[in-house]
Assembly symmetry: C2
Homo-oligomer: 428 residues x 2
């Protein structure tokens, strides 16, 4: 299971500090579970086998018939799907063949649309619209454009076959669209957990289409779900959430998340988005900042080693794959590194991370390490579940009720607000 | 030219504040120019035509003979090349055919290496090693592995033909390697500006190989170079640098950079890296944080609208392409957006950004907008030059002498430091 090591924060946090927060974490955890489905996986309890079979059939159909799957949606579930694709298949996964998953609907950029449109012109594609009952303006605009492209390409009737919708079981624009068109549709659970989670049908279909073993991800998450039910500081999600809250109260303003894997960059962005929207609120909580190691190592040294910036830092570590890579001999030893001959790459990486940890410790920067184990499906299911739970616990501790909030920019309100600001005549 | 609008910061900064800083900016600017080559382009003054012709020949050779160019290096120049590739060709540019540029040498990840190695197995490739006189450990390790792969594939003799080196004109491991192997080599100017700039041969060769019009980038940068020579607050780089320093002194701790283009994400990362390593030092200066609009719009609203977090925000705006995209009619109007029929996407985007600016203003968050003009080569040359100059001005104002510093983790010291921590027996 994900292992959270907070031994480096005792310079700033004491055991009594932690224990004082116990009622607050406990209350947040209870409220989350009472709100229903906050286990992020409860939607799976009922009809998971049937649902997974339908998702898998649909993924097979896309793979048989198309080169691209265009996912339309915004929010953390869609970003999380991208993060998992890059972690599991590599950031250059587009070069590897198979169906390529493209993303749209999180911007209003004309450039991005023209580029997507040019790619689609030469290949068969499916559109997968993902969203809760309220769609954002940018997703709605992208979906309109993509449906028009589908109809022009495949005709009115066949266009419907190339459209997949994953949304609220009964209400909202996407549900209405799916009923009207009679297209393939999946339900997103109505809880917070359901629509924002990467462990729900919207994100899972993208991953399945790209050939990722989704069952392994869900199995990892389900195992962690049980482990993270513990209501004490033996629960790593409790530890992480409480440490963040205490450090924020002690005057820390930002948290750096560093992963030493280049393919983990989008995961760090997803984390920045998740903790930024849930756990940084009304001036309280830490500002999340994604960093990359050792690319940012020099920067980190500069930022951390004097301890003057109000930062905390979290390291995300993955175990290396079973087959190691050694530094090789060079006849002329042009770089003087023959002394490292025979050492493995991951061993050098461990040393580098140890150096970064030491720099932080010297500077009095509180540091948390999250050890994830192997970079594989089950572990990533655990990790996503861990971050989803701990960000929700932070939200609860900051007295933010995520369930009571309406979706932030429901398309209709957004559009009417927009129209209020539009000039009398249209542009075009 | 890049237009910097600071009209939104007058809530926190006054004109006398700005004028008080004049000697400091002016001193930083003079020191930068005295240090030589800090115009970031002075290396071009001498033999640019000849050098560009040689770069172009080499790029043609790679295009003729290979499917991949693997760029080995770390630091902002390499990240900047990636940023420009994604901005000009799209983040999914790997799907577009032509030579694909891959990046290595900024990590010690075994996963990343295995994935790269698997891609190279099926295709012809060139290796381009970029670095100053001191190489980082991660670049050196990657280059050893890649040279071994080249020799296994092409044999000792032909492997040399597939290696390109861009480095210091006379010293360092890479120069020694290029002399020993007799491979194609280019000079990186020895000034700060030269090796870290995206406007230098290392990054330019990657861009040329991918088919980017490098001459247009350089022409844009050269134009801006003249404009940004003005020694007064009419110089947008002065304005931006001074505003950052004043706001940091006033207690702001972080700066969000937001671009409304999804393809600008790596540019924001490059900016985070550049300003993080130069202009955030010893607890002084703003912590740079890359964000994305409107993906992060909700988050920004949460962070900004109450004005309680000590943030400033910078918006990066590009003009839309000449050919606009309109929101289309939908017969059933499933999303109630027919009211927007005929409005262009970029117009809606403008409104969204205006909304974000308004939210910031309401919350008393100081905001800067950087209007770049069209998303095209010349403009990006201007923008890169602008950020390189303004980050260096900030460094100077924080009394950081970038020229006096040694490269942070020269491979030999890094290796010996590492060896000091290694256990007696090797792993493997």
């Amino acid at each position: 299971m994900v292992n959270v090591d907070i031994s480096n924060i005792w310079c700033s946090v004491s055991l009594p500090d932690l224990l004082t927060l116990e009622p607050s974490v406990s209350g947040a955890h209870a409220a989350l579970m009472d709100a229903g489905g906050a286990s992020f996986l409860s939607w799976l309890d009922d009809d998971s086998a049937d649902l997974l079979a339908r998702l898998s059939e649909t993924a097979d159909r896309v793979r048989d018939q198309a080169a691209y799957l265009v996912v339309v949606g915004d929010g953390s579930a869609v970003l999380g799907a991208r993060a998992l694709l890059e972690l599991l298949l590599g950031r250059d996964h587009a070069l590897r063949g198979g169906v390529r998953v493209l993303f749209a609907g999180s911007d209003l950029s004309t450039h991005a649309w023209k580029r997507l449109d040019a790619l689609l012109e030469q290949n068969d594609f499916y559109v997968h619209a993902v969203g809760r009952d309220g769609m954002s303006l940018q997703s709605a605009a992208a979906l309109r454009a993509l449906r028009w492209t589908l109809e022009r390409r495949y005709g009115m009737e066949r266009a419907k076959e190339h459209l997949i919708v994953t949304t609220d079981p009964s209400r909202g624009a996407l549900r209405q669209l799916s009923v009207q068109e009679g297209c393939t549709a999946f339900n997103l659970p109505r809880t917070l957990a359901g629509h924002e989670s990467v462990l729900a049908p919207g994100a899972l279909l993208c991953l399945m289409t790209a050939g990722v073993d989704v069952k392994a991800i869900l199995a990892g998450a389900a195992g962690t779900r049980k482990e993270l039910e513990i209501r004490s500081f033996e629960n790593p999600a409790w530890l992480y959430a409480a440490a963040r809250i205490i450090l924020a109260k002690r005057g820390k303003r930002a948290e750096y998340l560093c992963a030493a894997e280049p393919d983990a960059w989008t995961l760090c962005r997803w984390w920045q988005d998740l903790f930024g929207s849930r756990a940084c609120w009304k001036g309280k909580g830490l500002l999340p900042v994604a960093a990359e190691l050792p690319g940012d190592l020099q920067q980190l040294h500069g930022l951390l080693s004097d301890g003057k910036l109000p930062l905390m830092q979290t390291f995300l570590r993955f175990a290396p794959p079973p087959q190691r890579q050694q530094v090789s001999m060079d006849l002329h030893d042009f770089d003087n590194l023959n002394c490292l001959n025979g050492y493995t790459l991951d061993f050098l990486q461990e040393q580098t991370i140890a150096g970064a940890l030491q720099a932080g410790q010297d500077g009095g920067v509180p540091m948390v390490t999250v050890d994830c184990g192997r970079l594989e499906e089950a572990v990533l299911g655990e990790l996503m579940y861990f971050f989803e739970l701990s960000s929700s616990l932070c939200a609860g501790m900051l007295k933010r009720n995520l369930y009571a909030e309406e979706p932030p920019a429901r398309f209709a309100e957004a559009a009417s607000q927009l129209l209020g600001r539009l000039p009398p005549e249209k542009e075009g």
